[in-house]
């Protein structure tokens, strides 16, 4: 990278806010995915003006720019795929305003997700999107990826909780999109920019919705001797129109990995558990807890435990939210998929994933948002062996192919990034993608912002053969 550009950045931000020596950059070539890409430099803006200045410098020297929060993303969204300036928002981490009465907060993008909920908890409010990474991941990152989490089943994903944005376009323009009051006249630009995976703008300020904490929360652990019983339970709960706040499934293999690490109290001899939560008014939550427990028993749950207090509940959630950490102890590398299927297809999909694991000789664990049909099969492999890596990718592709055959999608909450761009043609035609590219080019005309993401660089996808265009219902007339 041009040393003049580095000097300009240092002049703008100060020497302590610019990293460019190879050993300093090492940390920033990773995120939570299996991808690696090293930036040419890393900068830490302190305010919106800094961000505008960085973008101007990037334009002057024609260097790519990539936004990054905590780097917990699972699809390579915050990696410098083609090198360039990585703009890390960790120093823009102030909560600018909390409006308790109107249930809104204005935050800088580097605010950690859980910190906002902690800051408003004494007002009986919280920020509802709760990705498992919420103790580290930033709201700016959540907005870019439109993050989900266990409780999005009832509360919705990030986009349902964002009112307006301040953003710096790759051209250096500072824009305000939407407004804190509802139904901003004109096109729903926040709706487009949330979840655009950092390819349309660098987000510098976010106005979010704060949600009232529920009066009562009931957390249940249902224990099953077969995976089929657990998945059939989810199908039945959904079909009966019971919407729990969360409905997570862990299979036996994952439970054993978790228990060896967290000791959450999951029984290690079972085939699957469902971690279910119902909340709301005391009267409603109590009834819903009973309804949910009844459905579990109807599908042969060996036992349904109800957390007796906050400590027991926290322990169960600790088991769930630290599961990926637990899995990391078992294998040098693991590959997490994020496919989504209609909830009615859960039983056959889980059976199919098991068969695919056997076919390729991998252990595939499953820990996922069952209530949303959002799967997270975990494939353990050793990336140091090239053949294993290829087999892992092939098995993952086969799982995703099956999800799409079921009428599903390739990613429910992790994003496409640089990991699944080649899978996009399974869901979208060239026409679909060309329109999206035109939208991108409208805001990111030189392509300097986060290049090489979402859209495949080459046409087609060799490994999987699913008819493109099945996503919007075309295959199910």
């Amino acid at each position: 990278m041009d040393s003049h550009a580095i000097n300009d950045l240092k002049k703008l931000l100060g020497a302590d806010a610019v990293l460019y020596r190879p050993e300093e950059l090492l940390l920033y070539e990773y995120d939570g995915s299996v991808e690696i890409a090293r930036p040419n430099c890393v900068v830490f803006p302190r305010n919106t003006k800094d961000v505008v200045g960085i973008v101007q410098i990037a334009n002057r020297y024609q260097i790519p720019i990539i936004g990054r929060g905590a780097g917990t993303g699972l699809s390579g969204g915050a990696l410098a795929r083609q090198g360039g300036i990585l703009v890390v928002f960790s120093r823009m981490n102030r909560i600018l305003e909390i409006d308790v009465e109107n249930q809104r907060a204005v935050v800088q993008p580097g605010v950690v997700n859980a910190d906002l909920s902690v800051a408003v908890a004494h007002n009986d409010l919280h920020f509802a999107p709760d990705p498992s990474s919420q103790k580290a991941s930033t709201i700016g990152g959540n907005v870019s990826e439109n993050s989900g989490g266990p409780h999005t089943l009832a509360y919705g994903v990030t986009t349902n909780h964002v009112h307006s944005l301040e953003a710096v376009l790759p051209t250096g323009e500072l824009v305000r999109l939407g407004s804190p009051a509802l139904d901003s006249p004109g096109y729903d630009l926040p709706g487009l920019f949330v979840g655009s995976e950092g390819t349309l703008a660098l987000i510098t300020e976010i106005t979010v919705k704060l949600t009232r904490l529920p009066e009562t929360v009931k957390t249940l652990l249902a224990i099953f001797d077969t995976v089929d019983d657990a998945t059939e339970t989810v199908v039945d709960i959904t079909a009966r129109g019971i919407t729990p706040a969360a409905c997570e499934m862990l299979d036996g293999w994952t439970i054993r990995a978790v228990e060896a690490y967290v000791h959450a109290g999951f029984p290690v001899d079972c085939a699957a558990v469902l971690l279910l939560e119902v909340d709301g008014l005391r009267e409603a939550a109590e009834q819903h807890a009973e309804d949910v427990a009844d459905v579990c028993r109807l599908h042969h749950a060996r036992e349904v435990r109800v957390a007796r207090d906050a400590r027991e509940r926290d322990l169960l959630w600790k088991g769930r939210k630290n599961a990926f950490g637990a899995v990391g102890r078992l294998s040098p590398t693991y590959y997490v998929q994020d496919g989504v299927i209609p909830r009615t297809k859960l039983p056959q999909t889980l059976r199919r994933i098991n068969e695919i694991g056997e076919k390729y000789g991998f252990e595939i664990g499953n820990i996922f948002h069952a209530g949303d049909g959002n799967l997270h099969p975990i494939i353990l492999f050793d990336a140091r062996e090239e053949k294993q890596f290829q087999r892992a990718v092939a098995s993952a592709d086969e799982i995703i192919g099956f999800c799409i055959e079921m009428g599903g999608s390739i990613t429910g909450e992790h994003g496409v990034g640089m990991e699944k761009d080649r899978l996009m043609p399974l869901l979208f035609t060239e026409d679909d993608m060309n329109l999206m590219r035109r939208v991108r080019d409208g805001y990111n005309p030189t392509g300097l912002l986060n290049p090489g993401k979402i859209f495949p660089s080459t046409k087609g996808c060799g490994e999987i053969h699913v008819r493109p265009g099945s996503v919007a219902g075309a295959s199910r007339a």
Binding site: S179, A284, D431
Partner: protein, 465 residues
């Protein structure tokens, strides 16, 4: 008909068949927008036919407006050009419905009423309780961005729309999103189509999340001497753990509107006299749940109402509840039919600013002796209707002055105002889309990506897009 007109209609007939092209004046008048008739009405039956129509229109530089039940064509500025009315009502198929997954894919021309009947069979519903419920189409409801009382609990279409298929201004059939309840693959393009008044594309298919029908529901109604007290009740509820399904404040004049002949046709059941008469502000909130939850809501709401200084209170259920719901859903058509020159402002402010915004609006109307009614949703969206007794130039001037002042007052609060409904002849002076917006340049970029030749609804949308 001119020779050019005849050529256009014969070319359209090649695409959809001669029986599905209309050119006689009476037919065309039924599709008028702001007194402007199209030169042809086309009734396609598939997305493929729409692709051909758009390609043809592009070549001939003809302007297209997609229509459904034509209940909301008055929204927006008059079209700059209007050649083809694209009647979408033949695209009314249920593409797929998986009740067990609570997901649905439908063509845009299906009516909310017909779709509602299908969903009811499976104990489900779509929370799009939009005005003109008995005939409005799902495509028209989504494209016009109108809301309904259920947004209190369920949000708006953007919160439960999963994906969409549409035809762009280049005549390309494209889609975004999917059919599953959680999905982040590709840009959420379907979100910008909501409320875009058809200026970005012709919506052909929409995928939705459906919802289980509420077990048992009621509505709590209380009257208050002042707007401030009614708003106090709203604030009190929003601070509690109650999660009502609907929450509105009606201005005193609303009871007269709800007693009209038009209202009786919508809602034949009579309402409790002590509540729905007189000159008080009405707070109303629907709630649902099991018996214990219903009792809890009722007790809590009664107690809160008492503390907030309510004059009277009642709980509606059964036919009264259904009637009250239908009336507030149909507030806009009822208001529009109540005077010869109705102007309805849609005011958006933060929830705690409802009282201030409404006070400013009523002051502006009353100081000009303009009769008015209003309904405020608890989320901060107010419909404020001014109802002059006659439609002459004086009424136009007075309404214009009042509207401009209300716009400024709400802008000062950080909110915004549009004027979705007003007489056509008043659109030259009224600020239909409110004050100029800072993000307008970013909207133009979107328009250019979708409809570079400006075929769709030209001139009707924000900033004359």
């Amino acid at each position: 008909m001119s020779t050019a007109g005849a050529t256009v209609s014969s070319r359209l007939a090649d695409i959809v068949g001669p029986l599905n092209v209309g050119t006689d004046p009476a037919q065309l008048a039924a599709f008028a927008i702001d007194d402007k008739n199209p030169s042809s009405v086309v009734r396609p039956q598939s997305a493929a036919e729409i692709v051909e129509i758009v390609k043809f229109a592009r070549k001939e530089r003809l302007a297209i407006v997609a229509t459904g039940a034509r209940t909301k064509l008055g929204i927006g500025l008059p079209p700059r050009q209007y050649d083809i009315a694209l009647d979408m009502t033949r695209l009314e198929r249920l593409v797929s419905y998986d009740p067990g997954d609570l997901t649905l894919s439908v063509e845009a021309g299906i009516s909310l009423h017909k779709l509602g009947a299908i969903l009811t069979e499976h104990g489900q519903f779509l929370p799009l309780a939009a005005p003109y419920w008995d005939r409005t189409t799902i495509g028209g409801t989504v494209a016009s961005g109108v809301d309904g009382p259920l947004r209190q609990l369920y949000g708006t279409a953007r919160d439960y729309l999963l994906g969409m298929e549409f035809v762009t201004g280049e005549g390309v059939l494209a889609k975004s999103g999917g059919r599953v309840v959680k999905n982040v693959t590709g840009y959420d393009i379907h979100k910008v189509m909501i409320g875009a008044l058809g200026t970005l594309g012709v919506i052909t298919r929409i995928n939705f999340k459906t919802f289980p029908m509420l077990s048992s529901s009621r509505a709590f109604v209380a009257t208050f001497q002042t707007l401030e007290r009614a708003c106090g009740m709203r604030n009190r509820v929003s601070q509690s753990h109650l999660a009502p399904v609907t929450m509105e404040i009606f201005s005193p004049g609303v009871t007269n509107l709800f007693a009209s002949d038009a209202a009786r046709r919508i809602a034949p059941t009579s309402m409790p006299e002590n509540i729905f008469s007189g000159s008080r502000w009405i707070f109303t909130s629907g709630f649902a749940g099991n018996q214990n939850a219903l009792e809890r809501y009722e007790n809590d709401l009664r107690k809160m109402a008492e503390e907030c200084g309510a004059v009277d209170a009642a709980v509606l259920q059964g036919p009264q509840l259904a009637s009250a719901f239908a009336l507030k859903r149909e507030f806009i058509p009822l208001a529009l039919s109540s005077s010869p020159a109705v102007t309805i402002l849609k005011i958006s402010v933060l929830p705690r600013q409802i009282a201030e915004a409404l006070t400013a609006a009523t002051r502006e109307a009353e100081s000009r002796h303009l009769p008015w009614v209003a309904i405020a949703r608890g989320v901060g969206v107010i419909y404020f209707a001014m109802l002059p007794a006659e439609s002459g130039e004086t009424s136009k001037q007075l309404t214009h002055q009042a509207a401009d002042n209300i716009l400024s007052a709400c802008a000062a609060l950080g909110g915004h105002v549009t004027i979705p409904w007003c007489p056509t002849g008043w659109k030259d002076t009224l600020k239909v889309w409110g004050l100029p917006r800072a993000d307008f340049a970013q909207m133009l970029k979107l328009k250019k990506a979708f409809d570079p030749h400006g075929l769709f609804s030209p001139g009707r949308f924000v900033g004359g897009i």
